[in-house]
């Protein structure tokens, strides 16, 4: 009844995305702690995020964050909205569409520099 249907896949994806985001968070806390070692050390650490392979991993992170966010709202609606459980399948489809629609423009900005394109976000800071 549950296995193999949207309920199972949404649950599994939510868990995998959550664990992936947590792993990134722990790495991120360490790379930010390099601030305490001055500009040279910190910038060397951050430079890794500009590598193409890390940009590709960042795409996974962004997709994971978007999915986990939207599916989190779906879970809350199932819990608190009386009709939530009835529409969980429809809401899963909405979650997937929202994830893809939000992911694509963000992905462009993240990956464009790997192809030598400046999407206009590499100028002076702030």
């Amino acid at each position: 009844m549950y296995k193999g249907q949207s309920g199972m896949w949404s649950w599994l994806l939510h868990r995998i995305a959550g664990l992936g985001i947590l792993l990134f968070l722990l790495i991120h806390i360490v790379d930010i702690s390099l601030l305490g070692f001055g500009p040279k050390v910190y910038n060397e650490g951050i430079a890794l995020f500009g590598l193409t392979i890390v940009r590709v991993i960042s795409l996974g992170l962004i997709a994971g964050v978007l999915y986990h966010s939207f599916n989190g709202v779906r879970i809350i609606l199932i819990d608190f909205w009386p009709k939530g459980a009835r529409y969980q399948g429809v809401m899963f489809a909405v979650v997937m569409i929202l994830t893809i629609v939000c992911f694509l423009p963000m992905a462009y900005f993240v990956i464009a520099p790997a192809f030598g394109i400046n999407p206009g976000n590499m100028a002076a800071g702030m």
């Binding site: 649950w11 947590l22 702690s33 305490g36 608190f80 963000m106 520099p113 590499m122 800071g125």
Partner: protein, 136 residues
Amino acid sequence: MRVATGYGSRPTSGGFETFSWYFFRISGIVLIFLVILHLLLNHVSTDVSCTSYQLVSIRYENPFWRLYDWLLLTLALLHGMNGLRIVVDDYVRTRGWRLTLQSAVGILTLVFFLLGTITLITFHPVVGSLGPNCIK
């Protein structure tokens, strides 16, 4: 035995698992806004290669961003580590391993919370050598 899943119908029994259930949902809603703005600021409006020491120094002159990042750190870490606790609960069936791993989750949470908090509080830019704007 009541197994913590973080899912399922609203718990009413009280106690830690009920608190955990509500914490996931409340911190989750707050995190959606905090994390998505954080991603837009550091991966979209500014490329990640430009989130340099210089940019952080400018940003952290304003205590608002330190507070913002500390809130992000605290909520994301507690939300994520609580999730990991439930994953351990779900898959580790041996008593000894369960206790060991749950303790590790607790210790890791504290260590990373302190590392992040200390970084945010003690950061003082090295004036005169902020480094480049963007890192190539």
